[in-house]
């Protein structure tokens, strides 16, 4: 099938296109040089054309997302729509059902989304949900930061075995990359405790968060994985945590990247850029974090922007979630996973007139505005922790318009004037910078820039067209139009198929699931498995033979080969 998009104002930073009228030719799901005269022609009419959106961090599938649905029927009751001839019924706002998850991303012009955390033992559940999320391509990052084998091999300083374990864990979970959440803290939470910094020793395993982070970065690069280590820092959500964040980011210097990308991605920095010592003197330290990123090229981050209103916090950071529940007097779910990690789910409502919430809101925006290179600060809301992903258009409008920010600032708690830099920041991002934060940058950080995040020949034909004419709009003034356009794409094209027209779903093809098959020397694998066999014999509650996610759970796989031994080229 051939498709020709004519008269688009194409914003494609990777290929140096800043809004020029360029035709895009599509054949068999890929962008090509030219198509035949038989191609279907889609006239973009001078409207904004970008690559399909790519989200590197969003909680869209798996055990904790479903816990969120089960404990929050009040959330499922919002956003209900009945089935149509094309679509299944939709429910939910912060924790949508699987169908709404796919439709709503596609309606925003997003075509690729990565689930931010899965425990290996619960990965089968993650894939059961991913399989039912329509349209988008997807994948899931796998938790390694408190796994017993990880900590054993870190203590033994055996990077060969650790690399073999990570490779095997990615296969077992059909995972895409290495997620590390509050390293060591997941194990500590097993007995209701936590680590307080990079150098606390995890008892019984005799390792520190610092050692875990550095070791995982080392093996990530030994394995030449497409993505870097994806870190949720220790001390997340505690006033004064920016020091832990900076100290964690400094660890990146100890490891050399195996690819043209960062060696550490620090996620949802909004929750890690906090000054002060308590909720009274709580303040923004986003400038310190941005300053670090501006002076280092081996670390990237994402915003985790907060959206006022309802959110559902969900994370493998179990101790933080118990603290949140106590602080908020909110309902609390906890989900420890044996030998691997912790997790928790707590609803929250972000209120403009609560000083801490207002300061947090401003921190997220500051991170994006103070970080000079948009390739280093991706747009996320850490869905649904900072807020649901359907609000990305609000974030885009805020970043493109100082006028909108100043109008908003008038409506939030006055603390932002004393505790934040935001009121004095007049930077306004342009369409190219937005395209980087939502497409090119995310694809680069994930290591998928060959096929995702741009519109050059060979890229996947994942394209969004928005009802904006870039040469006829002043985003600074007409921010309402910007928000409206980015919330509902005029067209979304996924793999060459039109899946959204005028904000409505027109087709629901199934997307692919990315996972990484990393090879290690057989001897390292065999040695590592001896330890794993013991773990299953003694400590797991299931059989090793029933642990690994079977092929049936990933029906449309997109396997990326990696590894520390030469990779076979097909």
């Amino acid at each position: 099938m051939e498709l020709l998009i004519k008269n688009g104002a194409v914003v494609d930073p990777v290929n140096g296109n800043k809004g020029d009228k360029t035709d895009i030719s599509i054949k068999d799901g890929k962008i090509v040089n030219k198509v035949s005269s038989k191609a279907t022609v889609l006239d973009a009419g001078g409207r904004l054309v970008m690559a399909g959106g790519v989200d590197a961090h969003s909680h869209i599938a798996g055990a904790k997302v479903n816990v969120g649905r089960m404990m929050r029927p009040e959330d499922s009751r919002s956003g209900i729509s009945p089935r149509t001839k094309i679509t299944r019924p939709c429910t939910g706002y912060t924790v949508p059902n699987v169908y709404a998850m796919g439709y709503r991303y596609a309606q925003m012009g997003y075509t690729t989304v990565f689930e931010a955390a899965q425990a290996i033992m619960k990965a089968r559940h993650t894939h059961e949900e991913l399989e039912e999320i329509p349209i988008i391509d997807k994948g899931a990052l796998t938790l390694f930061g408190s796994n017993w084998p990880t900590m054993d091999f870190v203590r033994e300083k055996d990077m060969d075995k650790l690399a073999a374990y990570v490779a095997w864990g990615l296969l077992a979970s059909r995972g895409f990359g290495v997620k590390c959440v509050n390293p060591g803290g997941g194990e500590m939470w097993g007995f209701g405790k936590n680590v307080t910094g990079l150098d606390d020793v995890v008892p019984s395993f005799d390792v520190t968060p610092r050692e875990i982070i550095v070791s995982l970065m080392k093996v990530n690069e030994m394995l030449k994985l497409p993505h870097s280590v994806h870190l949720h820092c220790n001390n997340l959500g505690n006033p004064g945590n920016y020091k832990t964040t900076l100290a964690s980011m400094e660890l990146a210097d100890q490891v050399k990247a195996s690819k043209n990308r960062q060696v550490m991605h620090v996620t949802h920095l909004l929750f890690n850029s906090w000054g002060g010592t308590n909720w009274g003197d709580f303040e923004s330290k986003s400038d310190e974090i941005a300053n670090f990123l501006n002076n280092h090229d081996n670390v990237t981050g994402d915003m985790g922007q907060m959206i006022f209103g309802s959110a559902t916090t969900m994370t493998a950071d179990g101790p933080k979630q118990y603290a949140n529940a106590k602080l908020l007097h909110a309902k609390w779910s906890n989900g420890d996973v044996e030998c691997e990690d912790a997790s928790g789910v707590v609803p929250i409502y972000y209120v403009k007139q609560i000083s801490v919430h207002a300061i947090m809101w401003a921190i997220g925006l500051e991170l994006a505005l103070l970080t000079k290179d948009p390739y280093k600060m991706l747009l996320t809301t850490d869905h649904p922790n900072g807020g649901p992903f359907v609000n990305y258009s609000e974030v885009i409008a805020l970043l493109m318009s100082n006028k909108k920010r100043q109008e908003e600032i008038k409506t939030v708690h006055e603390a932002v004037h004393a505790k934040n830099k935001l009121p004095g920041l007049d930077r306004e991002l342009d369409f190219s910078e937005i395209a980087i934060m939502t497409r090119a940058g995310t694809a680069k950080v994930l290591g998928l820039l060959d096929t995702k995040g741009h519109l050059g020949v060979g890229a996947d034909a994942d394209i969004s067209i928005y009802d904006i004419k870039p040469d006829q709009i002043d985003p600074s003034v007409e921010h309402a139009k910007i928000k409206s356009a980015f919330s509902s794409a005029a067209y979304t094209i996924k793999g060459g198929n039109i899946v959204v027209k005028d904000g409505q779903i027109t087709a629901t093809p199934l997307g692919r699931t990315y996972w990484v098959d990393a090879k290690v020397p057989q001897q390292h694998h065999d040695e590592m498995m001896k330890d794993i066999v013991k773990k299953f014999k003694n400590y797991y509650s299931i059989q090793l033979a029933n642990y690994m996610v079977q092929d049936e759970y990933v029906t449309h796989p997109q396997v990326i080969k990696a590894g520390s031994v030469p990779v076979e080229v097909n």
Partner: protein
């Protein structure tokens, strides 16, 4: 002869995955590691051999073809204004997905066996959340294990051995010797007989006892009377000390708590107790789910519809309001005018008023086994046994999903095939 190792047991929520099954000539001849309940289920009994139909419930069943039975089932659902699709607990997640799709297509209410079991726990989770853990976490760590209103010796025979009491773990090398076992129940069960401490509560007083424990824990022992629910205050105070002294405590609760007076409020209160205990030490709480995949239905229904159970598709969009939309609500109000009962036995477990309504309306049964629901059915469609003759996904009581193996080849169609054919037929009747 084929030997299948690491096979999963399709009986209870323990979902034991270490069975060895010996198969000769497509017949299971030996089962190792399973408990008596599991073995009995796997060996099979009282199979329905062929599809059957009858015009009225007083006449005898007549054997029919699958096509006839499926067409009749589709016609009943198509004609119905308020169909109920109930059961699901003894079927695989793949079956649940087809069932939810069918419910959407015919505008049905879909509900599962939890409605007479752990649905009150779900209501409590709406109020308080669920602080829990996988069973291996408990095996490795718990030094205090509490069974409240549950009797694993009878209902979950391998639970104590594999996960909660006798199992040895990383921080619990001594197994049983390293754990204090407490049983709270209205009678001295066989589980209670094995416990270190048995707290006997008067029937219907669980809520009071939990409230007393919370009061003592929060330093308000002064408001607790000398005896609560038949338990001396002194014993309650001692229990609080024991609970607090744990390094890791696990509470397992059963239908003694969910289906006695105060129902979901009991669980709500118990979860609050667990949350409060976490201020002192680590505690988790886990429902003792009955059927091997009743947990799975709640999972699938949640991710597909946003709600765990009792979902009404009459308006096209999911609507959830237990008390109004649960199976017994619509049966007792005589709203249901046709029912499909699949992989669950409403005839045996529903209140008499609900069963009377089932006796009045057309009922389709899809099940491998002859059971009391068969007696109120008009159309009976036998199927292969999930987890024995059909592979697929099930969720253990702690939410760990596993893939069940096929042990022998089925001789009858699967639930998935039957549901797909009914759905296709409904579409045809609608003129699509």
């Amino acid at each position: 002869m084929t030997v299948i190792t690491d096979a999963l047991c399709p009986f209870c929520g323990c979902l034991c995955d270490d069975l060895t099954i010996v198969v000769e000539n497509n017949k299971i001849t030996d089962i190792k590691n399973a408990c008596k309940l599991g073995s009995a289920k796997i060996m099979g009994h009282h199979r329905i051999e062929a599809p059957m139909m009858r015009a009225d419930k007083k006449s005898e069943f007549k054997e029919v073809s699958y096509e006839e039975a499926i067409n009749e089932a589709a016609a009943i659902l198509f004609k119905s204004k308020r169909p109920l699709l109930y059961g699901w607990a003894s079927a695989l997640c793949e079956v649940h997905k087809k069932g939810i799709l069918l419910a959407e297509e015919v505008g049905a209410i879909i509900d599962n066996t939890a409605t007479v079991c752990h649905a009150p726990s779900t209501l409590a989770v709406h109020e308080k959340g669920l602080p829990t853990a996988t069973l291996g976490q408990i095996k490795n760590r718990s030094d205090v294990t509490v069974f409240w209103g549950s009797n694993p010796v009878h209902a979950h025979p391998r639970h104590m051995g594999r996960y909660s009491v006798f199992a040895k773990g990383f921080f619990q090398e001594k197994g049983r010797k390293g754990r204090k076992v407490i049983v709270v129940d209205v009678r001295k069960t066989e589980t209670a007989a094995m416990a270190d401490e048995f707290i006997q509560v008067q029937q219907g007083s669980d809520y009071l006892v939990i409230s007393a424990l919370r009061a003592i824990l929060s330093g308000h022992a002064d408001v607790v009377p000398e005896s609560v629910g038949g338990v001396p205050k002194e014993q309650l105070a001692k229990l609080v000390d024991t609970l607090k002294a744990a390094k890791f405590g696990a509470v397992f609760f059963g239908m003694g708590l969910t289906q006695s007076i105060s129902r979901y409020k009991n669980i709500d209160n118990a979860i609050s107790l667990i949350t409060e205990l976490n201020a002192y030490t680590k505690y988790v709480i886990t429902p003792m789910r009955g059927h091997y995949n009743v947990t799975g239905f709640g999972q699938v229904c949640s991710w597909e519809t946003g709600f765990a159970t009792a979902v009404d598709f009459a308006r096209g969009a999911p609507y959830y309001n237990p008390g109004e939309t649960a199976a017994n609500d619509v049966l007792m109000r005589k709203e249901t005018d046709a029912a499909m009962i699949i992989a669950g036995d409403a005839g045996a477990h529903f209140p008499a008023d609900s069963v009377r309504q089932l006796a009045r309306i057309p009922v389709i049964q899809i099940d491998p086994y002859w059971n009391p629901t068969t007696e109120v059915s008009n159309v009976v469609i036998p199927v292969a046994i999930c987890g024995v003759e059909v592979a697929g996904t099930a969720y253990r009581m702690d939410g760990v999903s596993l893939q069940m193996r096929k042990m022998v080849e089925p001789t009858l169609p699967t639930d998935v095939e039957v549901l797909e054919r009914i759905t296709q037929r409904v579409r045809k009747l609608r003129g699509e």
